[in-house]
């Protein structure tokens, strides 16, 4: 009996029947990937309202090229807005970064321009502005208005803030020396700071003009300023006059500052004067107390020293006057009106430091002992505006600096019209004190003496020898004339002199000729001349 052994063979590891499903899977995968790649991304863009949006009709454009279509428009879950679902072209995938922006383009009528007129016929469309940030974002919020600056534009974005919106609004120009260098991109009210915030953009390369010393100020409209320094009218360009605008510059005397980062905050001043008015950081506050009318003295009026503006009037201290005046009433000082001024040592080329302020304070203390006083002067006769004038005055009572609250005070004297009145009164007093009777008596005596002198002069003039003087003078002049006639042209003396000069000229000419000959032939005196003979003029043949 034979034992049968099974013939064990290794089966086939791959059955060809599986080829079909694998191919189907690969083909399916390829189709999925292909479809995904060809489909393009789907995104959502949120709007406040669906006005202008139509599913299946509103297009998405970039540089006027169709980049997609609004597929569906639905309300948000809280019904506070709408969401447009958009299918974009595959090419748009690389445009969808975190700072990509969308906005609806419709016909708009603004203060300075009209845009989107073509949408009246073609219908509104969504404008896409590619960003430069991280890719992959799919949900966006549409801008309410078109951005004024393209994404990625070179330049510098800054923040301005002011206490009042004034006439500056979105879209207004930022000009530098009359040239447009940027624009106000947006305006909002910062409720935390209770200030108006402006987002501005300075185009390259003008952003290089911005440094930490720069001050921005409003140049909208026409500014008319009548102050102690006269009447001043200033305007910007017609564009800024009509639509508003902002400009910037470095106040005079201020050195250039350092570079600024983007979104740095600057204060927006109301006017150029305000921007340049307080360019210095360190100030010396002082109180000056006037015993005269301060009508016409307003905050901001200049404080001058011999014509140089060294500070400004801060405010009239009416509130302090009420309290302080009541307390000091018994000392008789309640009637003086305290005015708070500040002096900026940097205005007189001192450094803008606290040390300069202290140095100036000490100088002022010493100066007051030597006659430094403050007075009120009229700066503008037309408007009656006044300013504070500080100078050395002679013949003033001795005084020293005092204090008013926390401030140092310097003594004042009457000035302006009041001082003129004092001088007129003094003059009248002196006039009254004149010994007029004695003077008139002396004058009469002097006139009598003058009469005597004139009588003596008359006798002298009527004397025969005096009368003969003109005749003698005339004779002398006649002789002088005759003498001069002897030298006049045509006279014998003149002719003789003329002939002598002619002879001298001829002699000099001969000497010149001899000199010329000797220079060309030094031995011509003793040797025969070898000079060339004169060329003979030849007549035409």
């Amino acid at each position: 009996m034979t034992t049968m052994k099974p013939d064990i063979r290794k089966g086939k590891s791959f059955n060809p029947v599986w080829i079909i499903p694998i191919l189907a899977v690969l083909l399916g995968g390829y189709m999925v990937v292909h479809t995904w790649l060809m489909e393009g991304p789907e995104i959502t863009v949120a709007f406040d309202t669906a006005e202008g949006l139509t599913a299946g009709k509103t297009k998405v454009k970039y540089r006027n090229v169709d980049m997609g279509l609004v597929d569906k428009v639905v309300l948000t879950d809280d019904f506070q807005g709408v969401i447009a679902k958009i299918k974009l072209e595959p090419q748009a995938r690389s445009m969808l970064s975190e700072d990509t922006r969308f906005w609806l383009v419709t016909a708009r009528l603004g203060m300075g321009n009209i845009s989107g007129l073509d949408t009246l016929l073609s219908g509104a469309y969504l404008q896409l502005a590619p960003g430069t940030g991280k890719l992959g974002k799919r949900a966006y919020v549409a801008l309410e208005t078109p951005p004024l600056t393209p994404t990625g534009a070179p330049g510098l974005r800054l923040q301005l803030y002011s206490d009042d919106a004034g006439s500056v609004s979105t879209g207004d120009s930022i000009v530098y020396r009359g040239y447009k260098v940027g624009r106000v991109e947006s305006t909002r009210f910062d409720s935390d700071r209770r200030q108006v915030n402006y987002n501005i953009f300075i185009d390259a390369p003008f952003h290089e003009f911005i440094d930490s010393s720069v001050r921005f100020y409003n140049i909208s409209g026409i500014s008319v300023n009548a102050g102690a320094e006269g009447l001043e009218i200033s305007t910007g360009s017609m564009d800024t006059v009509l639509f508003g605008g902002v400009t910037f510059g470095t106040p005079p005397g201020i050195p250039s500052g350092g570079p600024v980062e983007k979104n740095t905050e600057f204060k927006l001043y109301v006017s150029k004067e305000e921007a340049e008015d307080n360019p210095f950081v360190h100030r010396l506050p002082l109180v000056v107390r006037f015993n005269q009318s301060i009508k016409g003295l307003k905050p901001g009026a200049p404080v001058e020293y011999r014509g140089i503006t060294i500070g400004r009037v801060e405010r009239l201290m009416i509130r302090e006057l009420a309290a302080f005046g009541l307390m000091m009433e018994t000392k008789g000082t309640a009637d003086s009106i305290p005015v708070l001024i500040h002096i900026e040592p940097a205005r007189i080329e001192l450094s803008d430091t606290a040390a300069s302020v202290e140095s100036f304070r000490n100088t002022l203390k010493a100066g007051v002992k030597n006659g430094v006083r403050a007075t009120l002067e009229t700066g503008n006769l037309l408007t009656g505006a006044k300013y504070v004038y500080i100078d050395f005055f002679a013949d003033v009572p001795e005084a020293s600096v005092g204090s008013f609250g926390d401030y140092m005070t310097i003594p004042t004297i009457a000035g302006g019209f009041d001082q003129t009145l004092v001088k007129v009164n003094t003059l009248l007093d002196k006039f009254n004190a004149l010994p007029l009777d004695d003077t008139v008596g002396n004058t009469n005596a002097a006139i009598a003496e003058l009469d005597k002198t004139l009588a003596g002069l008359r006798v002298m003039l009527e004397d025969s020898s005096t009368k003969a003087l003109p005749g003698e003078l005339k004779s002398t002049l006649r002789d002088l004339q005759a003498t001069l006639d002897g030298f006049s042209p045509g006279s014998p003396m003149y002719q003789s002199l003329d002939n002598t000069l002619q002879e001298l000229n001829r002699t000099m000419s001969n000497v010149e000729s001899l000199t010329r000959t000797l220079s060309s032939q030094p031995n011509a005196v003793i040797m025969p001349s070898t000079l060339p003979t004169d060329p003979i003029p030849e007549a035409k043949r």
Partner: protein, 185 residues
């Protein structure tokens, strides 16, 4: 002894030469001058008459090449040119103008004629050339000014012909001035 005499003889012979005789020319008008009473012009008088410096020298001037002149050494004017040119023009103008042009120093005439001769010399092309400017001044103000230029071919070779041609040119200038003064009168 003989060599010394021979040397002295040679020296004397070497030093001796025949001097060239200098010819002098007088600048005067050709017309005969008759005796008459002079009639001063009531309108015009003669002021300054100036000549270019290169003319105001004894020798007659000959242009030997363009821009190069040579004053003759042996052919000279008989009197200084600044004097003779003035006398010549004064007399020639007076003849043509039919009234005597007195010097402005002695004349009460209100208009003064002043003349400047810029060029007066012989050219290498056988001509004499004259360029002059003249103007009238009325009570200290320049009223009119003129320019005159002319050439005159030499009749024959030599400086005598050149002096004669220059005199003809000055006569032409005088005639031009006189004709203009007649028109202004």
């Amino acid at each position: 002894m003989k060599p010394t005499v021979l040397l002295l003889t040679l020296l004397v012979a070497g030093c001796s030469h025949t001097p060239v005789e200098t010819q002098f020319y007088l600048l005067r008008q050709q017309a005969a001058i008759e005796s008459r009473e002079m009639k001063p012009s009531p309108d015009f008088s003669l002021g300054d008459v100036s000549i270019a410096s290169y003319i105001d020298q004894p020798g007659l001037i000959l242009e030997v090449s363009p821009g190069q002149v040579r004053p003759a050494r042996h052919h000279e004017w008989a009197e200084p040119m600044h004097r003779s040119v003035r006398i010549f023009l004064q007399r020639e103008i007076s003849i043509e103008f039919e009234a005597d042009l007195f010097s402005s120093r002695f004349s009460p005439a209100s208009t003064v004629v002043e003349i400047r001769v810029d060029q007066l010399h012989g050219t290498s092309s056988g001509e004499a050339i004259l360029t002059a400017h003249w103007w009238t001044i009325h009570k200290g103000e320049l009223k009119s000014s003129y320019q005159y230029t002319s050439t005159e071919p030499l009749e024959q070779d030599g400086y005598a012909a050149l002096a004669k041609a220059e005199a003809v040119l000055l006569s032409g200038l005088a005639a031009s001035i006189a004709n203009t003064l007649k028109a202004l009168r």
